[in-house]
Structures are given as C-alpha cells and as structure tokens.
Amino acid sequence: MSMLVVVTEAVPPRLRGRLAVWLLEVRAGVYVGDVSRRVREMIWYQIVELAEDGNVVMAWAASTESGFDFITYGSNRRMPIDFDGLRLVRFQPEGMDDV
C-alpha cells in the first residue's frame, strides 16, 4: 500500500465519478488515496480508458531516490523528462499548448 495522488484536467465527468469510487477528491480534479500496486494499476487503466481528450497525472509513493514515481496521460505544458535517471518536469512556454 502506498499513497497515491491523481490530478485530472478537462476529463469527462464519468472518469471523475469513477475515480471517486476509490479515492477522495480533495480539490476539483485532485484525488488522494492509499492503495496497493494492483489497485493503482487498475485505477490507471480506468484513467487511460476514460480520460478521452483530457490530461491526467498520477503520482505515488515509491522506493525511488525521490521517494515517488509518476505517470502522465494526454498533453500538458508540463512534460516529464528523464534527467540523468531522475525524473523531472519540463515546462513548455505558455501558449505552446492548449493547457
């Protein structure tokens, strides 16, 4: 079991409701929970299938150097990059993307 955070943007209400079946929506589109790897993978499957044109990031506590790992769906100004083995986020300039 490890802590899980999901942030959604511009996703259909159907996905938002589905996430609220297991997680707590603490702010609009921000979901928190404490789940096992299997449940996290099941939740990610739901996200990929239901997010349509929206974008989503899911982060969870993990035994990496930074103490967490994350995965993204869809496009966003913030894109994950691999920086010598450390996963960071690069911002695209404003106006480059829809979000």
Binding site: R16, G17, A20, V21, W22, L24, V39, M42
Partner: protein
C-alpha cells in the same frame, strides 16, 4: 466509448467502515454521494475503498447506489441506534457453492464440527482446548473465561461492571460500559460479516453459535473480540464520553488498523475451517462449467461482480 467494468478490490486493502446518519444516498457521475437535502451539500464516499457502509436511521438510498455498492463488493448494513443492528442486506451470502458446501459439510458432521470448535477455542485463548470435551462443555469453559475477562478489563480501566447486560431493543437502557461494548461489537460484526461474504461463506452457518442469521460471524468475531474491540470499549467507557458511540467507532477504526484486522479476517476464516482437515468438495464429474466464465478479478473470491 467502450463500457469499462467496475470491479471490487480486496477487503484487506480497504478502510474498515463508514457510518452514514442522514441524507439521501445516490449516484452522481458514477460516484457514491450523500446529499443533504436541507443544505444541498454533497459528500462523496469512496464506496469501493471501504469494507462496509453502516446506514443509520435517517438515510434514504437509491437503487443506483445499491447497485454501485454491490458492484464494488461493499457491504451495506442497515443499523439502528448507535450501530446496533436492526436489519441488514446488501450482499446475500454464499456466492460460492463450493465454499458453501464445504462449510455445510463441516457443520453437519459432529466430529468435523468439534474439530472446528476446538480450533476456534485454541485461536481465541492461545492454548489447545481441554481434551475429551463436548461442544457444550467447551461453551461452558468459554463462558466462564469470557466473564472473567470482562472483570479483568473492567478493573484495569476502572469501570464498574455488573456483567454483560443489554436490551437489544433499547440501546439506551444499558449502562455506559455495556453501551460501549454493544457499539464496539457491532463495528466488529460489520467488518466480519463483510469478510465472511467476501470469502464466499454463509454468515448463518455457525459452529459454536447457531440459529441466528449471523451465527458464523459471531463465531469468527469472538476469536478476535477480546484483543480488539472490548478493551477499546472499556477504555472509552472509563472516560465518561459525551458521545460514546461516536468515540467507540473512532477507537474501533484505529484498533482495526493497528491490529491489521482486515488482512487477518479471511485467512482466519480459512484457518478455522481447515481444522476439519477435509478438502473443499470437487465439482461433480457431470457438472457443467459456466457458459460465460467469470473474468479474472483482483477482488476476493466471494465478491459477486468479479
């Protein structure tokens, strides 16, 4: 857009229980919500991440919400004042015929039943049951030990105790210690019933207890009762709480977490039944396999919507 099935997750990975005391329970955008009609407020309940939802007097629940709870394998229990049971439904027992027949076989054969009862005794008191005793005799030994345990706990927490006395129809009639014990045991029975169902067994087929819809639930809950909820109940009773039931629930949730009870219950059930030393019955040779096999699930074996 494809239909995406919703399936239960194992009960050991969930929170123990949520009590809902007022409002209309419905489904919005596929999520379980409690709507306060007076203020128009909505509260989400992560229905798939709890073992059981206790519905207290003052709640109304829609068909869609019942369906969602069933799909996520979450037990709904309709309870009375302070969580003491009035009526329950949500998941009928015995989703697995092989498990049900196994449990029934153990309960029907007097030698096997005695083995199971002796195992319960051993798990409960941490020592083997005395030799060559009937189930009735074991029940007598157990009753004496239980009364003594109540006395010891009452003394430890400085609570006056005149025995376990309560009126199931009138919760407020009991003394404060009995009220706390009643509220605490009903929490334990709720999660235990959910575990029995999730494991695929029948709550009514008991070994020490019999003749009640929850006989097997009482059998299993009694094994862990005095290490979990009873000390909690006495501790709260000693503090002269203003809202005993609410404080007992919080303390129960904490003791369920610290004792890892939800992860232990299903293995405990399997362990007790395995004392009969028989294998679950194999399907008959002429049995027809299901026309539509169940898809693989990450939930527990007794969950229906797997």
């Amino acid at each position: 857009m494809a239909y995406l099935p919703l399936r239960p997750i194992p009960i050991k990975e969930r929170n123990s229980m949520i009590f809902v005391g007022m409002g209309r329970i419905d489904v919005r955008d596929g999520a379980f919500v409690v709507i306060d009609e007076v203020n128009g407020e909505r509260m989400h309940i992560p229905v798939g991440s709890v073992v059981c939802i206790m519905l207290e007097p003052g709640t109304r629940i829609s068909h869609a919400a019942i369906k969602l709870a069933a799909t996520t394998g979450t037990l709904l229990i309709w309870v009375g004042e302070a969580g003491v049971r009035l009526y329950s439904a949500g998941q009928p027992g015995g989703a697995r015929s092989d498990k049900l027949l196994y449990q029934a076989q153990l309960a029907l054969d007097s030698d096997l039943r005695l083995k199971v009862v002796r195992k319960m005794f051993e798990l409960r008191f941490g020592e083997p049951a005395p030799q060559r005793r009937s189930i009735d005799q074991l029940r007598g030994v157990e009753g004496a030990r239980v009364r003594a345990t109540y006395q010891v706990l009452a003394k430890k927490f400085g609570v006056s105790w005149q025995g376990r006395r309560y009126d199931p129809k009138d919760w407020a009639a009991g003394d404060i210690a009995n009220q706390c014990v009643s509220a605490a045991t009903s929490c334990l029975y709720g999660v235990t019933e959910a575990a029995v169902l999730a494991a695929g067994y029948a709550p009514a087929i008991g070994f020490l207890h019999s003749g009640k819809p929850l006989s097997f639930v009482y059998d299993i809950a009694d094994i862990v009762k005095f290490e979990t909820v009873v000390p909690v109940a006495f501790k709260i009773a000693a503090e002269q709480p203003r809202h005993p039931d609410r404080e007992v629930r919080q303390a129960c949730r904490e003791v369920f977490r610290s004792s890892r009870l939800l992860g232990r219950l299903i293995p405990l059930i399997e362990d007790v039944l395995a004392a009969g030393e028989i294998a679950p019955p194999a399907p008959p040779e002429d049995a027809q396999p299901p026309a539509i096999p169940e898809p693989p699930s990450i939930g527990d074996q007794g969950h229906r919507s797997s």
